[in-house]
């Protein structure tokens, strides 16, 4: 037995290229289905894990995939904004916890999503600063651990929000956001985000702003009209681009709060009754919808399963082709090595030993191919994260 194994090893070492090509073919045939299955399963489990953290998402009518991924992964979408009124109504519902999310802006040249929400978002997701503190006024931000590392930012640092329309001089300018806390790592999209208060998002939208007291502005070209009750200012009045402790109190909203935009609302009903009431009420409205993120993921996974079935079919064909190839190689190899087998017989080697030697050779190739396929699968899983960051 040891002799058969030794002979098989010596043969493989004597023909490294031939053996290597054979092992590589088998490795590819194994790695493709194994790798795709492993990645898909990990993808499924992580998507479901994120989706299960939010029982319901309320947002504007439209693509429920867009709504789910805007709420869970802060992806910018074309969905219409959801008015704050929806959130205010949910706050009035008994046995319901509602958390607003506004994810329509980015910072640092599109590198980091600016997620505006309430303090309850941090609490509900268990996000706490490792350094610094939580935002306490408009213009302050906490940054996710990965974003902080990538941008080299920490407490005391700052980052400018991205202007939505770079060449539109009437669009609201960028706003300097002060980093007051760095969140602990959670392994979620929160690690890549810059999290601010809702009021800050409305400053970025240009709906809220700060400027010198209207009553104290003396320049005639900036004041269109003045009466006891009303001061009409020119649009040329420069609003603050940097929010400081000194001017934060001067920031104010234009228009009723009820109409201000949100991207989505995360809803946590206490029980099935509350969940049903929320879904029924929201779905009855003309402009809003309530989705269950896990069901959206179900549909997405069902679609992906079809892709996986295609990959599996291709893999089966590849595996069959490889096995056929290996069979052919084996038969040809037996004929090519007829003289070698005859010599082994003439020097006293039993027929079983020769068979065992071939079995060792085949087993060795399969073992090496399996190991290579395993390494390739692990590497694919490891590369998935950087690929994802590059893709988004």
């Amino acid at each position: 037995m040891t002799g058969s194994a030794y002979l098989a090893l010596r043969y493989a070492l004597h023909h490294p290229l031939r053996t290597g090509v054979l092992a590589a073919c088998v490795a590819v045939a194994l790695a493709l289905p194994a790798g795709s299955r492993a990645i898909l399963e990990r993808f499924e489990s992580s998507l479901y894990a994120r989706a299960r953290t939010v029982p319901l998402v309320v947002g504007a009518k439209g693509s429920r995939f867009d709504l789910a991924f805007s709420a869970l992964y802060f992806r910018a979408t074309d969905l219409a904004p959801t008015p704050y009124r929806e959130y205010a109504e949910l706050l009035d519902e008994p046995s319901v916890r509602a958390i607003p999310v506004h994810a329509r802006f980015t910072a640092s040249g599109g590198d980091v999503p600016v997620v505006a929400t309430s303090i309850e978002y941090l609490e509900t997701r268990g996000l706490a600063p490792d350094e610094g503190r939580v935002f306490a006024r408009v213009g302050e931000a906490v940054i996710g651990s990965r974003a902080a590392e990538r941008l080299g930012l920490g407490v005391g640092g700052w980052v400018f929000s991205d202007q939505r329309e770079l060449y539109d001089i009437t669009s609201p300018p960028s706003v300097k956001l002060d980093i007051v806390g760095v969140l602990g790592e959670t392994g979620t999209p929160d690690d890549d985000a810059l999290i601010v208060d809702l009021e800050t998002a409305w400053v970025l939208e240009g709906i809220a702003h700060g400027h010198d007291e209207a009553e104290e502005i003396e320049r005639a070209d900036l004041v269109i009209g003045r009466s006891e009750e009303h001061v009409a200012l020119s649009g040329a009045v420069v609003t603050y681009q940097e929010i400081t402790d000194e001017n934060a109190a001067s920031f104010h909203l234009h228009g009723p709060r009820d109409n201000l935009p949100l991207s989505s609302i995360l809803v946590y009903p206490a029980d099935d009754k509350a969940r049903t009431i929320v879904r029924t009420r929201v779905d009855a409205s003309a402009a809003a919808q309530a989705i269950v993120p896990t069901r959206v993921i179900d549909d997405l996974i069902a679609f992906l399963l079809r892709i996986r079935a295609l990959i599996d079919a291709l893999s089966a064909i590849l595996l069959l082709s490889t096995l056929t190839l290996i069979g052919c190689i084996g038969v040809l190899s037996y004929r090519v090595r007829a003289a070698e087998i005859r010599t082994l017989g003439e020097i006293g080697c039993a027929r079983g030993t020769v068979g065992l030697m071939f079995a060792f050779e085949a087993g060795g190739v399969l073992a090496v191919a399996g190991a290579v396929a395993g390494v390739v699968t692990l590497a694919a899983l490891g590369l998935a994260e950087p690929l994802m960051r590059a893709g988004l």
Partner: protein, 300 residues
């Protein structure tokens, strides 16, 4: 649509791969300080009475600060963020609360239930750019001056405290507070205010006027000012339009002004403290009782 779905699928595939450490499905419950934080003295008093000492009630507005214009520091905001319950008067009294990053679900706006009944007051507005005129709410925030409204505020606070502090029974304390507020209501009714025409140095008494059927006109005067000429002129202008014999002041006016108004115009000055800040001695109830006594005496 299929292409879009395919693109989304590829994208989220990659997203999913990065999510190795997602947390459990159950949302985390924050660790909150077992306390009620109040933003104004009247509601702090109501919360203290309802609590009866079982739950700490904190009023962090500095004693020398105006609760209307007070802006809390980051550390003070952090304290509010960590409180189990934040009790506010509402009606625009605490301007900072609307824009502060606090948990909305833990804020009790005690006037919310009757916001449709709130009185509006004139405020300065401004407009600029395409956004049009700013929509600052000109609401009179002195809701607690009316003891009947104060009862509704107390009930709202008690209800929220009951939900926030499970296992605590505040019913008896609330009943005692409601009875005290009802006694204030009786006191104001007995003061014989109906049909009177009064002046006030600030627009603080509109809810009282509505409740007890008297008229009040505001003559903006600073109680600390000793400008007798300006005060007499302003009050003379007001009583020329409609006679009045009593002027209500939020704080004691300068003696020289009070005596000049009485001597030259026959207008008596009565201190009617709104109790926006915690009094040096006594409490909201004592303060209001003193207000009633002074008012009844002046009306005789």
């Amino acid at each position: 649509m299929r292409l879009r779905l395919l693109a989304l699928a590829c994208c989220v595939w990659l997203v999913g791969c990065s999510e190795s450490g997602e947390r459990a499905a159950t949302p985390t419950e924050p660790e909150l300080e077992r306390a009620v934080y109040a933003t104004a003295y009247p509601v702090a008093y109501f919360a203290e009475r309802i609590s009866g000492g079982t739950v700490p009630v904190r009023l962090t507005v500095p004693e020398d600060a105006d609760p209307v214009s007070w802006q809390p520091s980051a550390a003070e905001i952090a304290a509010f963020q960590g409180a189990r319950l934040v009790v506010t008067n509402g009606a625009g009294f605490e301007g900072w609360v609307g824009s502060a990053p606090l948990a909305r679900s833990r804020i009790v706006e005690s006037t919310r239930a009757f916001e449709d009944e709130l009185l509006t007051i004139e405020t300065a507005t401004h407009s600029h750019g395409p956004g049009g005129e700013h929509t600052h709410e000109g609401i009179d925030p002195h809701t607690w001056m009316d003891p009947v409204q104060a009862q509704r505020q107390a009930r709202a606070i008690a209800s929220a405290m009951g939900e926030a502090f499970e296992g605590e029974d505040f019913d008896a304390n609330l009943a005692a507070l409601i009875e005290d507020l009802a006694s204030l209501d009786r006191g104001f009714r007995d003061a014989g205010l109906e049909g009177l025409s009064l002046l006030a140095n600030h627009g603080t008494y509109n809810y009282l006027a509505r409740r007890y059927g008297f008229e009040v006109r505001t003559v903006d005067l600073d109680p600390g000012s000793e400008d007798v000429v300006a005060a007499v002129e302003a009050v003379r202008g007001a009583i020329d339009e409609s006679p009045a014999l009593i002027m209500l002041w939020e704080a004691a006016p300068a003696e020289i002004v009070a005596s000049a108004l009485e001597r030259e115009l026959g207008v008596r000055s009565v201190v009617m403290s709104p109790g926006e800040r915690r009094p040096g001695s006594g409490d909201y109830l004592a303060l209001m009782r003193e207000n009633i006594l002074r008012l009844a005496e002046a009306g005789r």
